[in-house]
Symmetry: none
Subunit: 195 residues, 4 copies
DNA sequence: TCATAAGCGAGACGGTACGTCGTGTCTTACG
DNA sequence: CGTAAGACACGACGTACCGTCTCGCTTATGA
């Protein structure tokens, strides 16, 4: 069952550090970002950073999760297609901003149990809840049958868009989202038999 | 138009270095891999490595591209579903091995024009040709109509599987592939109207 | 006019690094000494070394200058001959210890304006003042006339001894010093006509 | 007893390599000179160089010894003072050209028994013979007594001049030579009592 | 006239040091 | 007492040079 979001609260200083981190993340990507630069730009000491987050990866994951929390509201356009398109656009926007940053973080997250927990807690569940909310709304409207919703591959929409934003020269566009929704997702969700 | 694959040839020494690199890549991931260790394990000098590949990123991209070239034969099981499942399994296998390594490389590839060219030359076109071959075969067999093949999102299958292999705790399995093929791809490819 | 000695002060960490450097200099000579080994032996990081001295040459020049500063007291034995012999012995001792190290440093010093300045500041002026003090004392005692003191070749004593300590198989001994003083320097300093 | 000079003979190719080496030695000094550059400039292969001389130090010592052999004729101006001045000028010229190169070679020579032998064979004895010849001539002319000739410090003239040419900012001039001869050497050689 | 060998130019190679930079820990001094 | 400033240990990166080596080409001889 989905763990409740339970959003972490931050002090003003922490918010500031996260904001600077996110800014640098967008400018430089994960690997080029340095903690020294974060500290310098925030007129902070490295010790202050490390007191709050035990590693660069923790800092960046926190900044990223915190920074993308604004997508948290599920769209409600009145139709499944509209909701999916809207969701796709939002994800595309985020992914284009942070695409390669995400890629850089992933290996670190893989290696650390704690980071994995933070990542799931702060990011994963939120996104999953969003998707399921959109699909439930469609079921309620009678657009799709509940049994077409698969738990195995619920994240095709965000997953593929994120993939595209990480691969060089293939950053997703509105056309990408439209094609994905119309040619893949809707045929899948409105197919005759759910497994 | 697709550039011809034109596979790069390597000397024996180079093959050896790439093999060692790939081995270390699997063990340690991109960021933990060190050129010193590659050189040491291959009883080579760092100069030998850097003479051939100008940076760690170049080395690893070369090793990766070269290492996954074995998937180059398109499957031909006689049915679209069989081909897609087989392809998905192959990709899954590769992706599970190198998932986080790919993630680590991507930011570097993004930043370097040269690396981007190498990546496309050695990896991207090959995979794309594979997918299209499978789809063309299905068209020839009359299983699908040619107009359902989209150039915008031809890489949903590999893209989503690679995404899954990079995200912590979501490494794809056979069930993932089956669900993806049966619940998403086939409904998409056999839908009524193209585009 | 001679620049005031103005001895550079060092922190404890720096003193430690210089001591280790001097030790290694004696063991290995300039060219065989490695910064890595200095750092390792001082349980220091290379960055710590390079933060203070911008190159191996700077480090070694600093260590050498600092290390030989102990000869700084001019001898006062009561006679010119005694003073010269004592001074020669001191120089011989130093030169035998660091002979080839000095040789190794010189080309680097030649090439760097900064190193040249450091060398003169820390080493050259000090030695020159020493010699002149000894000669002035002899003048005061009435042993020699002031006009025999040449500014062109004031450093024959240290220069020749250092030369001897650098040339293979000719390291200077007490006999060398005695011969130099009795057969060369004293006849020169007590000759009839100055200039 | 002095070993006979026994000058080494070289083939045309070897002469060429030595000439290029000497040229580079003057341009770059010992440490900056690279065997690669010697080979490149002589359109030779490194193997060709190393076939003849087993190390960079051997090559450079050979080039240096060979290059300065032209000073080999003892001057005969008719007076000791003239001979010493002439000799000093010749040495000064050589030393100014190769001063820092000599310094760079010395540590290597110190470390290698073979190089020491070569150095003595090719350079040391020759210079020593030169000095003694000049002094013997003065004895023959009745200018000095034979017992003022010391074997301990026969090389004050070349030694001090070489020293001066190695120390930064103190390259010897004609004035240096004149002062050395008139104020030091002649008073020493014409003093009343030999040791 | 052609074949086989010896020498050479070219340059890859293993090893090792240099000097730079980033992480994460720590100490010091200030407010 | 927290924090800014920044020194510090560790270790990787990419560069350069030394001395060894292998590969072809060329030239110099022997059948």
């Amino acid at each position: 069952m989905p763990v409740p979001p339970q959003v972490t609260e931050f002090t003003a200083r922490e918010e500031e550090l996260l904001a600077v981190t996110l800014e640098l993340l967008r400018e430089s990507g994960y690997d080029r970002l340095t903690v020294d630069e974060v500290a310098a730009r925030a007129h902070a000491s490295k010790a202050t950073v490390y007191r709050r987050w035990p590693s660069k990866a923790d800092l960046v994951v926190a900044a990223f999760s915190h920074g993308v929390r604004q997508v948290a509201r599920p769209p409600d356009t009145g139709s499944l297609r509209g909701d999916l398109l809207r969701l796709g656009e939002l994800i595309t926007e985020q992914a284009r901003l942070h695409g390669s940053a995400i890629a850089g973080m992933l290996p670190e997250i893989q290696r650390s149990e704690r980071l994995r927990a933070v990542f799931e807690q702060e990011f994963f569940h939120e996104r999953r809840a969003l998707i399921h909310q959109v699909l439930r709304n469609a079921v309620d409207r009678g657009e799709i049958r509940p049994d077409v919703i698969s738990d195995e591959i619920w994240d095709v929409l965000p997953g593929y868009l994120v993939f595209r934003s990480m691969v060089p020269g293939r950053a997703p566009t509105s056309d990408t989202v439209r094609a994905l929704v119309d040619e893949v997702l809707l045929p899948s969700l409105t197919r005759d038999s759910g497994t």
